[in-house]
Subunit: 258 residues, 4 copies
């Protein structure tokens, strides 16, 4: 409940559907008890059609919003490696993935309601204008109403906004922030937060006041309508549950932006 | 022109969009001058997203109907090898392919209007009840109005019809038929016809009278609303053009069934 | 110690190196504490070059013999689905996999010392003469001295023996046997044994007397110079350790056949 | 025959074995009539095991030296896209490819006698120290005697030489050179030479005098023990034949460096 008496709301998103064939990754069922939005792998970095289908059915049953977690075509690298593809190749790869997921979501009684780039693609379009535009073009060609879930300040966000598209930005629950509002590099000590209680408190502040405490102690504003919680790290499930419990305990409504 | 003065109509379909990356297969542009329906590869046996996108744009520009040419997941074997996948895997693979193609078709201003299984899958569901049902289930889950293009007599056709779905059957322009109405095996001499004029004449008879002359000289009835012409064999383009010219010369209207 | 005072010896083999990119499968380090032979995935059903390289280094460090676990080209199905490839395709795929593994093994200071087909290929060449011959041809072309690890009675074993090649047959630690000496189908109750102590006792009998008790209580002879223990099922590590401990406790020497 | 009466010798190399499944690329049989060294694809950018096997048999029959044409793992991009993999991943990928090819070459009665990186990897290791070192490490781990075929001045050449390995550099038959001895960018006019007679003359000069005329008319020294001729561009076969004929006509002996 903020000063105006209205209830704060925020989305919790996580990566799911990343298992492949005999390979299981993450505990999607457990994560689904905490999040409101599911970034579903589309088969290019993880996920196979049967995994994706089951994930869509589970998301639909749990009332969780489905988003397309699009990636570079790199199963061997789990989409975590930059691939210097042409903008045409990238746009077509993105479109293909969204469509494939949409069919699975549709058969499960739901639909793709947003797009979130994965891994190296997510990081690349923070600064790589050509790839950023390719992703935006693909989403726009599919459905100009489909929101993009991005890092605040990403060049892809500027391009999408300029195209009149909706951009939703996210914060990372377990990451430390610089005074400038960017993520502390994972190579720095203290980049990743492990204290569930602290993380939950931070996310409540974010949801209710739009602020976070940076590593140097300064208060910074972070614009985020969604919070990303991890799904495949040790303690991920507990962290997601703690964040949800903290938010609910503070009266923050958890619901998807899409 | 049949006895009632009405104009006979038939569809000409061919496989396109099968190129992959640096690999080119077939002369789609040339084939597009003859056919009315395009069986577009969906990426599992051939086709990559950029090839598929371009194929959809070309089909849309030429006014050709787009169908999903779904296949076993086997790029190395071009979908020509039976793969003993589970029915769930197969149904999900088919659904994924239809959806991926639909996104590309949609961005090109057209849509997937039918489904035709490719290669080993096409042949398998003539007799393999489990795989036939999986394909039918997938198409029905996607859109129960979407017609299936199949071999006459295929068990998949029975299953789809029993589900209330529309089945369209096809004849093969350059293949000899047994007196029972099945294709003469490619292992037999004379299984494949190479005489363009003869093939064109046969297809006119098929379109106007619904009959073909079998290898033993008997006249057989062949139920086919579409004629399949090859796209990647030597002489394929010329054969397709000859069939079209023959049909048009006989006053048969060429148009898609979907 | 058998009647003649000589020490019985047997091999313990298990499947390893099956992780892929971000996907981890099995606990190879734990399994390496029990086995004497490592069936290392070669990249076609599981395993990527870095996983394989690390597995070879670990096997070399532990003094475990490396074998090539060759499979149908089917990463999505983990090599568990029959693929109706041509014998030429199969033989070339097998040869390619052996060579790839050999380079990794060589760089790790060891070498490929046997070949064991994986999953659907293992089961198929029990009865499929054409695929059995293709596998045998590939191994022979690579090195006619390389032994094949197979199911007793497999048609591939007959073909390899007729070619003058060495065949080693194996028993399955946790599987029940029919009076005819074949495995009880997994669809039957009691097909899989879960009692570690019982399994260990059975394997001691097998190693020292060459016999097992079939499901109907009859004693059967089972010819096996190696025992396969699973690596990726619940309890696999404990079962492997129990079998090893049982054998060692009974004075059976554990060592590879190759 | 040069002034000293000794016979000049040079190698002609070309990319082969790049077909994949139903996809044919290049006319390897025709190219084999001209070259002395075959850069055989290893399956990561092109080539499948059966294509590779046949290519090795054809090379062996024609007395052509086999080299491993190693690439980034990117079949969809034909190895022409930079992939930001880790040095460990790259080294292991290279080792895997060399080993796979060696098995096929061995079965064909020949062997891998050199390594030439392909496409984006070839260009990247001209300047990318980390990837260059990874490639060198992999080749050294496989066999420190195996020469590397590289662009003159590549950082990979420096690293390999410092490791005591043999480096062979090549010139490109149909490319224009800057006065500094580098290739004129393909984006510049005149970068690619199409006049077979002119190209043949240039290659004779290169083989006999070690010089080429740069785009500005200056004479430059180019150190090259091998000449690369293309295999998959229009006119490639004729150009390769013209270069060979020109060299032979000038008394230059054509033979592999390895």
């Amino acid at each position: 409940m903020n000063a105006q008496g209205s209830t704060a709301q925020i989305d919790l998103n996580s990566d799911v559907g990343e298992s492949f064939g005999s390979y299981t990754l993450g505990d999607d069922a457990a994560i689904f008890r905490s999040v409101s939005s599911a970034n579903v792998a589309c088969g290019f970095h993880g996920g196979d059609p049967s995994v994706i289908a089951q994930t869509c059915r589970d998301a639909a049953a749990a009332g969780i919003t489905v988003g397309a977690h699009v990636a570079y075509r790199d199963l061997a690298g789990f989409g975590r490696r930059f691939l210097d593809c042409s903008p045409t190749e990238l746009a077509d790869d993105v479109l293909y993935q969204i469509g494939a997921l949409e069919a699975m979501a549709h058969a499960a009684g739901t639909a793709v309601r947003y797009v979130k780039p994965h891994g190296a693609l997510y990081n690349t379009i923070v600064h790589h204008t050509v790839h950023a535009r390719a992703v935006v073009d693909a989403v726009k060609a599919y459905d100009p109403e489909l929101p993009l879930l991005l890092l605040p300040g990403a060049v892809a966000a500027e391009i999408a906004s300029a195209e009149g598209m909706r951009v939703v930005t996210e914060a990372f629950a377990d990451r430390a922030y610089t005074p400038e509002g960017t993520l502390v590099s994972r190579r720095e000590p203290g980049a990743v937060l492990h204290d569930e209680e602290l993380v939950a408190e931070r996310m409540v502040r974010l949801a209710t006041e739009g602020t976070l405490t940076a590593v140097d102690g300064t208060e910074i504003r972070v614009e985020a309508a969604s919070i990303c919680v991890h799904s495949d790290t040790p303690g991920a499930v507990a962290m997601a549950a703690a964040v949800r419990a903290g938010l609910e305990g503070a009266g923050v409504r958890i619901g998807s932006f899409a």
